[in-house]
Symmetry: C2
Subunit: 332 residues, 2 copies
Amino acid sequence: MTAVRPGADAEEFLLRARRLTGPALRDAVRRLPEPTRGIAEYHFSWDHGQAGKSVRAALVLAAAEALHGPPEDAVSGAAGVELVHNFSLIHDDLMDRDPLRRTRPTVWSAYGDSQAILTGDALLVVAMHVLADHPPVLREVCAALLALVDGQSADLAFESRTDVGLDECVRMAALKTGALLASSCAIGGMLARAEPARVEALRRFGHHLGLAFQLVDDILGIWGQTQVSGKPVGADLRRRKKSLPVVAALNAGGSHARRLREIYHPGAGPLDDDDIQSAAELIELAGGRAWAERQAEHHRTGAMAALAAAEPTGEGAEILVALATLVCRRDR
Amino acid sequence: MTAVRPGADAEEFLLRARRLTGPALRDAVRRLPEPTRGIAEYHFSWDHGQAGKSVRAALVLAAAEALHGPPEDAVSGAAGVELVHNFSLIHDDLMDRDPLRRTRPTVWSAYGDSQAILTGDALLVVAMHVLADHPPVLREVCAALLALVDGQSADLAFESRTDVGLDECVRMAALKTGALLASSCAIGGMLARAEPARVEALRRFGHHLGLAFQLVDDILGIWGQTQVSGKPVGADLRRRKKSLPVVAALNAGGSHARRLREIYHPGAGPLDDDDIQSAAELIELAGGRAWAERQAEHHRTGAMAALAAAEPTGEGAEILVALATLVCRRDR
C-alpha cells in the first residue's frame, strides 16, 4: 500500500462515490409514490448540498476496486446499502425523537410519525429492489438489517435502565454502527468475486471501523468542538444518552463514578448546562475518556490489520486506508 | 372446472396452506433477535389458535398448483407474502391507532410504538430473506409493497379530507387490499413457471378478488352481524372511516347524501350510537349499499373471468374457485 493524503483522497473519493451512486439512488427514490417520494427527497437533501457523506457507498466501491472488481459492478450494492442506511436513519430518528439531522428537521418532525414510518418502509423496499439481482448480497444486507433492529432495540432498552454493562454497550454499538459498515465492506468484496477469506477480512475491517467510528463520535459528542464537528457538543449528555465513554465511567467504580451516577440517574428530564459540565469532568476523572481513546486506537489498529489480511491492491487499497483514517479522525 | 363445496374445501385448503407455510414462517421469525422475536410471535398468535387465515399464502399455493407447479416449490413465496402482509398489519395498526386485532391488543398497544416499528421492519426484512432466491418474485413483492405504501398514504390523507372522490377511494382499496392479493396469485403462477399471459390473468383474478373482498368487508362493517363476522359492526362508522359505501353515498348527491355529510363532516370525535344508526340508514338511502353490492358482484364476476383466462386445472383450480367464493361470502 502506498502513501496517501488521507483527508484529500478520502473526501475526493466520497465525492466520486456520491457521483457514482447518485443516479441509482435518485432512480430508486423516483420509483416511490407521492407524497413518499417528495419526503424521501427532502430527507436526502440532494438539492440543499447537505446530503450525507455516503461513507457506506464509498466503502462498497473502494472494497470492490481494491479486490479487482470494476466499480460499475458495485454501484447497485453501494446504492442498496445507502438506501438501507437512510431507512434506518428515518426510523431511528422517529424512535429516538431526534428533532434535527444535518441541521434540518428530521422526517418525523417535519411530516409526522406516519409519514416517517411509510418513507422508511419505502426506502427499505427500494433497497431490496435494487439488490434483487444479487441474492448473496441481499442476504448479507438482510443480516445487517436484523443487527440494526437488534442494536436499536438494545439502545431503546438502555434508556430506562440504570445497570447497563460495558460489554452490552459495546455489543449495541457493534450492532447499530458496526454491522452495516462491516456488511458494506464485505459486499464490496462479494461483488468483486473475492475469495471468502478476503471477504471475511473486509468484514472485520468494517466491523473495527464501525466501533472506532462510534467511539470517536461519542468522544467528540462530549469533548469535541461544535464548530469543528458540526454537532452540538453536550447534546448526548443533555439527554442522558448511555454512550460508550459514559457507560465505561459509570462502571469504573470509585467516587467519580458514584458522583456521575448521581447526576445521570435516575432523573427524567434533560441535564442542565452545569450538570453537563460536571458529567463531562466526572467521566474523564473516572477514566471513561481514556478508555474510549484506547478502544478507538485498538479498533483502528484492528481495522488496519484486517485490511492487510484482505490483501487489497491499487488505488482501491489507498482509498480504503484514507477512508479508515477519515472515519477515525478527531477533527472530522 | 368441476363442482366444489366452497366453504368446506376453502377452509380445508386454508388449513393445509397454514400447515405448509407454518414451518417456513416459524423459521423466519426464529431468526429475529429478542425482544423482536417474542413480539412477532405474539402478533402471529400461533399458540393462541387465533392466527390469521393465511388467505395470501393459500392463493400462492393454489395458483401454483393450478398451473402445474408442485406446491413445495411455492412454499417460500407463500411464506414471503404472509410475512409482508403481517409487516403491513403491524405498521398500519400503529398508524391507524387500531387497538385490537384478532380480539387481542395490537403490537403497538401491547408493546409501544417503537417495538411496533422495529417488529414490522424485522418481518419485512425476513420476508425479503425468504424470497432472496427468486429475484422476479422478490421484485413482484417490492412492487406490491410500494402499492401498500401508496394505499396507506392515501388512506391517512383521507382522514382529514371532506372531498374524497369515489374513484380515488376505489384506487386506494385497489392499492391497499388488491395489490398484495394480485401479487400473491401472480407469484403462484411465476413459481409454477407459467407463461406471462397466464400470470397476468392470475394477477387480474387477485386484483378483482381484493376489491370484492374490500367491498364485502366494508358492507359487513356497516350492516353485518358481529356474532357472524367476529368484527364489531359500526366500528368503521364510529371512527368516521371513509369506506367505499360511505364515499359512494357522500358523492351520490341529493338530500340523503347531504344529511350524511352533516353527520360525517367535519367532526373530530367518534360518532355516537344514534349517529351510527342514522349514518347507516342514510348511506343505504343514498344508494351506497346498493352501489357496493353491485361493485362486489362486478368484481366477483371479473375475478372468475380472469381465472378462466388463466386456464387453471385440477384440484388447484377448484381451490381457487372455493377461495374466491369464501372471500366474497357475506357470512364469513
